[in-house]
């Protein structure tokens, strides 16, 4: 549809062929009845390989839309997106996704859910089983292999969804408010586990959230988006040197400052969205 993205020079520019390059992306929702809604406008963003980037913004700012476009789930209307040098045209196993609603196959057990993606890769049956078990253990679900999703709590469902996505070893992990439906204790535990998994595996993570603290805690960099139409308002570095433990991070001065700074940026947009964002 369009030419490969030329890397935009700047602090966050990725080396050619690696990372994710988003160039001048626009997107308009065209409902069958009613006026089209401009969701994204001229978004450019470069994400380095193995970087953890949060997309932060008020509800309805198009951050999930941007994630879906990177996933290739919706056709790109304007601009281009490339992942590790390949132009995105369709979904693919190089980009795993985790949704807020878990999106587990309810008719499959835990292990069948995790095996689904593995079997698509054409691995031998034994290898599929071994890997599935490895990821079940990784997310602490040993003993629940044969449970159906309807028998699990929200936190456990999300662990299954994460294990299912990780099991196929995607280079990029797309997360759409993955902990938004969980209670706050479970959410804290899951955030820690996600960080520890990410540190051990070579993955780029794009994490959509409207929770400022979550974004600061998890991400190397936070892209703040404006109210509709979504644009990148600011890119804020949130990598804290030294602190490995998140309990330590949240007590640090740097963390408090970053949360304050981002909160101010987001609040302006939330107010704008509340004031004039409604059609």
């Amino acid at each position: 549809m369009s030419a490969p993205a030329t890397a935009v020079p700047g602090a966050g520019a990725a080396a050619p062929g690696t990372g994710i390059s988003i160039s001048r992306v626009g997107y308009e929702y065209r409902p069958p009845r009613g006026r089209p809604v401009l969701a994204l406008e001229n978004i450019s963003l470069d994400i380095k390989d193995r970087e953890f980037v949060a997309l932060l913004g008020p509800s309805g700012c198009g951050k999930s839309t941007l994630l879906y476009l990177i996933g290739g789930f919706m056709p790109l209307q304007q601009g281009s997106i490339s992942v590790n040098g390949r132009i995105v045209t369709a979904p693919g196993p190089d980009r795993g996704i985790v949704f807020q609603s878990f999106a587990l196959f309810p008719w499959k057990t835990v292990i069948q859910n995790i095996l689904y993606g593995l079997e698509k890769r054409g691995l031998p049956r034994e290898e599929c089983r071994r890997r599935a078990q490895h990821y079940i253990d990784l997310v602490h679900l040993r003993g629940f292999e044969d449970s159906y999703p309807s028998q699990l709590s929200g936190g456990m469902k999300q662990r299954v969804a994460i294990a299912r996505t990780l099991a196929t070893e995607p280079g990029t992990l797309l997360m759409d408010e993955p902990f938004g439906a969980l209670d706050s204790q479970t959410r804290t535990i899951m955030q820690d586990e996600l960080l520890s998994i990410w540190r051990r595996s070579p993955m780029t993570v794009i994490f959509v959230t409207h929770d400022v603290r979550e974004a600061v805690l998890l991400a190397d960099r936070v892209a703040v988006m404006t109210a509709r139409p979504g644009r990148i308002k600011a890119l804020v570095d949130t990598r804290f040197s030294g602190a490995a433990d998140s309990a330590e991070v949240v007590r640090s001065r740097e963390y408090a400052d970053a949360v304050d700074h981002l909160w101010t940026l987001v609040r302006e947009e939330a107010v704008a969205a509340g004031a004039g964002g409604r059609p």
């Binding site: 693919g92 196993p93 949704f99 609603s101 008719w107 689904y116 993606g117 309807s150 996505t165």
Partner: protein
């Protein structure tokens, strides 16, 4: 506790049966209009077991063949109509016409085209059963959560595989409900078709006894086909629950 509950649930039926029996016995209603329950069951016992099995088997056989044929066609059509716009454009008008049409109105037509034998009856039941199955598969397929589809795609599923591996199982609860409706409809069409003209089947039996003025026999036929219908529905509900046990 459960025995008491079962008795409680059976109570309306028992009261109705008692009222029926008394009304017929006391001569409150004529024996022709409403034979006593006891004489109906006596007639049921008096029918040759061989005849009864034969006619019941004929009726059920017609319904079964039609339903079994309608399921794959109906499910495939419903999913394809939901999934592919050209198919929807092509088949939707046909479906819209067929949906509100009383299928019994087609009986004379099927007789003219296909005769009075099995083919005309099975065709009628097939058409009648097809519609609720197509509708259910269509609604089920349209209602599949897009995050499930996207997840499957990102895990490497091709579009054809997606229909088989995600859309079909996700639509299954709705499809099973549609088939339940189709089964109920099939019983209506079995009897209606056989009442109009047939050489055998429960509907034919009911007709014969009625014309001969043997009302207990006629009612016996009604009771048999009702019992078979009830059993078929219960069996289908049980099978559906087993097939969707993952829903808890």
């Amino acid at each position: 506790m459960t025995a008491a509950l079962m008795l409680w649930r059976a109570l309306p039926v028992l009261i109705l049966a008692a009222l029926w029996e008394t009304a017929a016995r006391t001569g409150l209603v004529s024996e022709h209009a409403l034979p006593a329950l006891s004489s109906i069951f006596a007639a049921l016992g008096g029918l040759s077991a061989g005849d009864l099995y034969y006619h019941t088997a004929r009726s059920v056989g017609r319904g079964l063949i039609a339903i079994v044929a309608a399921i794959p066609f109906g499910v495939a059509a419903g999913i394809l109509i939901a999934w592919y716009l050209p198919v929807r454009v092509l088949l939707n008008p046909l479906l819209q016409c067929l949906y509100p049409m009383p299928k019994v109105a087609l009986i004379p037509l099927t007789i003219i085209w296909l005769g009075i034998g099995d083919v005309s009856k099975i065709t009628l039941i097939f058409v009648g059963a097809l519609v609720p199955i197509v509708m259910a598969a269509f609604n089920g397929a349209r209602g599949v959560d897009r995050t499930l589809l996207w997840t499957a795609r990102s895990l490497g599923a091709s579009e054809v595989r997606l229909l088989w591996e995600v859309v079909l199982p996700a639509a299954l609860p709705e499809i099973l409900n549609g088939i339940r409706t189709a089964i109920a409809l099939a019983f209506i069409l079995i009897v209606a078709g056989e009442l109009v003209i047939a050489n055998d089947g429960i509907g034919h039996m009911i007709n014969m006894w009625g014309e001969a003025g043997h009302y207990p026999g006629m009612f016996a036929g009604v009771i048999v086909i009702s019992a078979v219908g009830f059993a078929a529905d219960r069996a289908w509900v049980a099978l559906s629950a087993w097939l969707t046990a993952w829903r808890q």
